[in-house]
Symmetry: D2
Subunit: 343 residues, 4 copies
């Protein structure tokens, strides 16, 4: 039975869950627990994540998806007249159907070269907002990896973090694909660094092998209070909260979370390497599980007969940027097939 | 492994999913599909539900929980200055942490005898709101079964529906426990009736055997437009929308959805019958999977040593109302054990 | 030229402004000032009010009306999941078209005998809200005088204030008709008491001789920050903020504010006294500028031929409660005329 | 008595009201009217405006300021997931403290050369938004005159209007300085054109001689329903609605509204002409009451000793753009003084 006609490199959520996750869901299925994320499975998952972070004094909440995580965190952190700063290309700005504004908050955007913020870019926005006729920027939003597969170095994230703390800004990191970022060969950040350098971030599950689920990690003491009220109010408190808790338990046992991301990165790298050898350029440096090669349109057309993937943008009359995504579920046969179809 | 110390009659979401659901999730796990609820599994579930409803011209959307369904439907239907009418005991009024108000809308409540609305009660609210200094009531919210386990008869629902249409009010039915209502021995409504008599309702999955998931069914043509925009904006559009689609596929095959509810009702009835024989009174008539007997406090104390259940309210110094819930997962042994512990 | 056919006892905002106010507006008309309420006229008004309050360390902001004041204060004080407690008869609950809910907040109402809250009533709401499935009550809303013309005694307000502070609740007093309350013969509160016993309140101008304008007085240090951002965002920051500043300057010079209210009270009392002599009952005790006598319907019909006033509610087949309001602009001739028409 | 140390060319709201307005307020002061904008003065103002527009079938509502008008109109027109398109320099985007987002709506901005939108610019935004993962642009926001004093020609506005109607977009024109635009020597639009080419616009009073007040004119039948509910809910319905009605009555009698704007334009033009003769460049073409000359910093410093005005932006190390505004209240002596100080 096949639901798609073609092999998909379109995204990292085309399949169900990693078998280890389904297995644990099945094994625990008939155990009775209390609801709303206060069960022992969720608590165990919290402890496993804390062990990985190596910081115990954080609050961890499980939610169903990235947009839900973003709108919850942002509306929880900001006062009504405060705004969030992001790149013009940020997911919250472009691809969340106005979810942030629907909670009453403006997004102040800055043009960036590559989707990554810098202290300088943040300062531009901050300096521009001077009085009560304008919003008051209070939170900085970044993604790691970014929308175009790039990652922040420890130096870059430390500079942003230092600047935010100096300026009284909170820092929030969207980690929908944090596993892929942290397992990139180019990465020098640890999960502990991420936790310490931000005020709040989330660990993506949906795009790294879970059926659904993101783990919001709140490090800043000021932001911890009453978060569950926000979750309930926004429809984010699952009756069977265990569903996400069990999945993160599975992901954070035996290093599964990072093994899955490494696999995705490795698969993408294999394709990228061949493309480099073939002298294709890239829209952004290929360092995670999302790569953005620039291909001739006729090759794209040919590949589209067998494969699903996005055409990201036009470069010129003959070439376009495409997005190729590999995931925990990408198999070697399909990668090799794709590579051979590049000929 | 046991997560709870005691046997639970506390709610209908203490376990995971019915095994048929887990089985279908496992079987379909590695099939690649497109995301966000447009996959073939979700479409199949939609068709199966339509077959059951016997009306094809409805829109069906899957969401993760009841509060999410309620806030989405209500904020989708109402203009900014319009309000929703409910009983003072309604879930949206009491137990959703202000989710409806957070979307900008007032709930106009009316005192009822038993949590059920009537045309007369609705008219009270409607008549009271006369001009632009007040909100404009536009939507009526009811639950079937209600918060205290009661059901609407076909006559009652028809009267409400007729009144709403005459008065230009929309009617929304919260069906978190609709399966239990429709399989009650006292029920005379069909799913087709529910669809035709309301403008929009939802079929609860979370409390009837699914890991999570509710199916919103929109019958009124005026309310169909752009509902997916609302879902995305409120964080309700799952990347792996298939997760709920597959579950409803399983539930609506081989009559599973109704078989599970019947089992829950039957278990509750067995307990209720014994309580009646023992001459215990009930707070509300025991007709679905939630029953509300009035028990002496010392018996409650004794039962609480082995069983989890809520004390609903005090009656007097010696007696209290308790809530006993049976579910698809309640087993005969526990029911019999509970009954024998009533001695 | 007459805009109304009849003499009005309908409300206290049927005329323009007290002549002293118009005079000061005219005298200062061509002076150039900076905008948005930071002008010297507004600052002078602030100082005059502080002198009257006898507390200097308060923040004062001028807004255009009561609903605007209420929605600003309430949405400024509360976090997204917090609610405000009021009587079921409160203006914010009934007559502001959902303004509070439109800012995202629930109003938790309690039935009262007479529209006045008590610690016991507040505790009922507070105790009922126990966890994150419900809103978190955080602010108490009262009016002085109330919707039906009653006032709080110093003892009553002190008890409420003490209770709120003990329970971590904020207290907000809507003073649309505070001048009338404070000049009632039955009043034992000072403006200083009001300030000290509440966290924030407003001094009504619109209903006491101004063209428009209310002065929000914030006493609690925690509630002062960034209030002007809220005002700007809600459209409440007037370019010519001086318009309200100048009016409050006039009102708080030579005791005008309280003289106007005393006149209104005295006029109402004169009518009330005659009604008492005639053995008419009252719906609430007549102590301010709003009185609520119970009159026979045929007398109401007769009076309605010459006078505008509201029929508040039916008492029985033959009698109704009416609301008679006197204002700063009510003249003795009309009062005497009304009294003689009572024969 | 002088409230400012210097003569102000800073804005068009530094004084009170035109004397004709104060006169009419004084004359009508003690007439009793009903409240909330349904009085005869407000109705007369509506009729006078309709006479000027030469279209009778419009709805007219009076509000207190521009931000209030903008947030009311935009939140009234849009569904929760819909957005408004504006220039990046638009008042709603930059200078309203997030008022639009606070009503739940995103602003989609486009970079423009001069703050003026074109069909091409609007199409860019419209084409970019393709599905429910993004907001749905539905309303176009323009100002006439713009933030930098420019005006739309009949051809330009017609092209925008035609495009919007073809694409199913609503068009809203912010007319805070519409009087100045319509009386510009370069203008070829009539008030009738403005009405017919837009769906809704407002006529600014605050910046053209009123104490406060803007007149929202709704032409599109679909947008008329229940606007007063929105006004009440947002705190925009004044108890003494007559206050704005009377002012617009004065403004639309004897052509006062346009005479005041012409005076402002003429004063600005006189200064602009001298600057042109002196070979100063302008940031934007000087055609209304706001002009933006580029001056050497030492001249700016010298002028600032006697005059208030904004430095708009830096051009280079030695020159800056300044904003000089003339108003209905600007007197010839000050204009001549300023001109002679340019030497």
């Amino acid at each position: 039975m096949s639901n798609m006609q073609k092999i998909s490199f379109k995204d990292d959520y085309s399949e169900g869950a990693h078998p280890e996750i389904l297995k644990l869901l099945t094994e625990t299925n008939l155990v009775q627990t209390i609801g709303y994320g206060e069960d022992e499975f969720s608590n165990k998952a919290r402890q496993l994540i804390k062990n990985e972070i190596k910081i115990d004094d954080v609050d961890i909440h499980f939610v169903t998806g990235g947009t839900q995580a973003n709108l919850l965190v942002i509306s929880s952190v900001l006062k009504p007249y405060q705004s969030v700063i992001s790149a013009t290309t940020a997911h919250i700005e472009v691809h969340e159907a106005g979810a942030i504004e629907a909670t009453g908050h403006k997004i102040n955007t800055v043009e960036t070269l590559d989707g990554k913020l810098t202290p300088g870019k943040i300062k531009e926005v901050s300096d521009y907002h001077t009085d009560e006729h304008m919003v008051q920027p209070k939170l900085v939003f970044i993604s790691n990896s970014t929308e175009t597969g790039l990652i922040y170095s420890k130096k870059e994230l430390t500079e942003i973090s230092d600047f935010c703390r100096k300026e009284g800004l909170y820092l929030y990191l969207d980690g929908a694909r944090l596993a892929s970022a942290l397992t990139s060969e180019h990465n020098d950040l640890t999960l502990k660094d991420i936790t310490e350098l931000t005020d709040v971030f989330y660990l993506g599950g949906t795009k790294n092998g879970a059926l659904l689920g993101e783990a919001i990690v709140i490090n800043n003491e000021n932001l911890k209070e009453d978060f569950r009220f926000m979750m309930k109010q926004k429809g984010a408190l699952l009756a069977k909260g265990r569903l996400i808790g069990i999945q993160f338990s599975a992901l954070f046992q035996n290093n599964l979370y990072f093994r899955l991301a490494k696999h995705a990165n490795k698969s993408a790298k294999k394709i990228a390497n061949v493309l480099r050898i073939k002298k294709f350029d890239f829209y952004t440096e290929a360092v995670t599980n999302q790569i953005f090669p620039i291909l001739p349109n006729d090759l794209i057309e040919k590949l589209h007969q067998k494969y699903e993937f996005y055409v990201w943008s036009k470069v010129n009359k003959t070439h376009s940027v495409v997005r190729i995504i590999c995931s925990w579920a990408t198999n070697e046969k399909d990668v090799n097939g794709f590579i051979s179809d590049l000929q």
